[in-house]
Symmetry: C2
Subunit: 313 residues, 2 copies
Amino acid sequence: MKDLALGIDIGGTNTVFGCCDCEGNVHFETSVPTTDSKAPELLVERIYDQLHKEGLIDRIIGVGIGAPNGNYFSGSIEFAPNLSWKGKIPLAQLFHDKFGVPTYLTNDANAAAMGEMIYGNAKDLKDFVTVTLGTGLGSGIVVDGKMIYGHDGFAGEYGHIRVIPNGRLCGCGRRGCLETYVSATGVVRSIIELDSKHKNSSSILTSMDHPSAVQVFKHAKTGDKFAQEIIDFTAKMLGNALADFACFSSPKAYVLFGGIAQSGKEFADKVKTHMEEALLNIYKNKIEIRISALHELNAAVLGASSLVWNEIN
Amino acid sequence: MKDLALGIDIGGTNTVFGCCDCEGNVHFETSVPTTDSKAPELLVERIYDQLHKEGLIDRIIGVGIGAPNGNYFSGSIEFAPNLSWKGKIPLAQLFHDKFGVPTYLTNDANAAAMGEMIYGNAKDLKDFVTVTLGTGLGSGIVVDGKMIYGHDGFAGEYGHIRVIPNGRLCGCGRRGCLETYVSATGVVRSIIELDSKHKNSSSILTSMDHPSAVQVFKHAKTGDKFAQEIIDFTAKMLGNALADFACFSSPKAYVLFGGIAQSGKEFADKVKTHMEEALLNIYKNKIEIRISALHELNAAVLGASSLVWNEIN
């Protein structure tokens, strides 16, 4: 019986994959270093062999893939800066050829949004935006129950909307992109770049050589004032941006996903407060800030698998 | 035979209405001062009586209305600051009751986008954004052939995305909104607010008490350097903003509509140049800047009528 979707999340370091039924129960999950596979074909073989060994091959109804720079229309990974595979990689085709089942590929933030809609905290929503806060800031936009892909498959790059003219230099070569402020990397940059009378007495800088975003959040909880200022700054930058982005798709909710959002309700509440202050009148008191429900679960596999169930349903 | 759509464009000053067949031929068009009708019911009566007189009533297959703050879902004008009718006006219902045919209402920028898709320069496009440059800046977003309305009918307010932190004060009460720079009003503000070594010698300020945006464009064409700087500044602000807004829906084209866009290809070319410079790499050399094809025609009636034909087709 074909009752499982194979969900694959390609990361710069690891590739997580697993099988998931239509109710979101994960039947198998594991990960392999992405970099072990010099060619993408080798990764396909490796995943196939593993599922064969687990006796799951015949149960796979479809394959869903979330990948950096993943293009839904072409089924390819296109020029992903953080992967060792260069150029355009027709990964959906490679999986389709090997597994003989429909295969869907998109970027990781779109997969996260789809996972939220099928299994998570957006099951009741037709209009929402998932904002993923990791190394960078990604976004997956759903309008009237459908993912927005744009004419070329590259819609939803909220991390690269410039929010400060001539602001922080971004990996994309431009300045002031939202993700240079609001992301794990952005939080770490704020440690260096923000000024504060509490900076010298903060234990973030004195107790650690290379503090991480997670540690900034931890220090904030124990009363470190500079850490709290960084969190406030980050929440204000995000709240302000989400207020403006409402002018695009007027969503019912933003769903925050990833390490920073996982820090708890307090951050989401701060984002909401700043967003409300900054919203155009017609949008005030309408838009929720939700925290992803997939955090503690097998989020990557669920997101990728949901691409399959979305097409089938 | 029911072969005509009644298109109505409600403006703060005038209401234009007319009848249009499915091929975009306008069979009748006129306008009345909006302010003559103290209550919206009186406007409905007036338009009905006029069409009755013209012998067109029995040919009306549906009514399309473009209106400021028009909400597609509710069919109402909701708290339009520039109309004398206050609160929520269920205008679609009023027309439906009087005419007995399906009635569709949305905001004027969405109607313009629909008109462009059905009759104008976006007939070949499924993913584009119409940007209307009038007193303010409006936008109508089309994704995969469908208008984006958002969860509440208020999607597509690009004019109120803030592009300069603490920038120009906007009519909405916030600061730095795009429309305070890029609109007829914004151009006039630039005359006062921009500094230039050519300002004192410019004939814009010396020859007119209250120069308009159109006059700034005219002076630029005759070689006035300050006027040219204002146009360049406006084009740069718009090009930069459109570059960032590509991160929303990744459109195939922006279609510029209204007085400023109508000034000619030169302005659109400048916008394109600035947009390309500012675009994220993945969007470069993909997005066209087009000028609306509806300018010289009965744009308002065509836009509103197209709402009807879009639903019928």
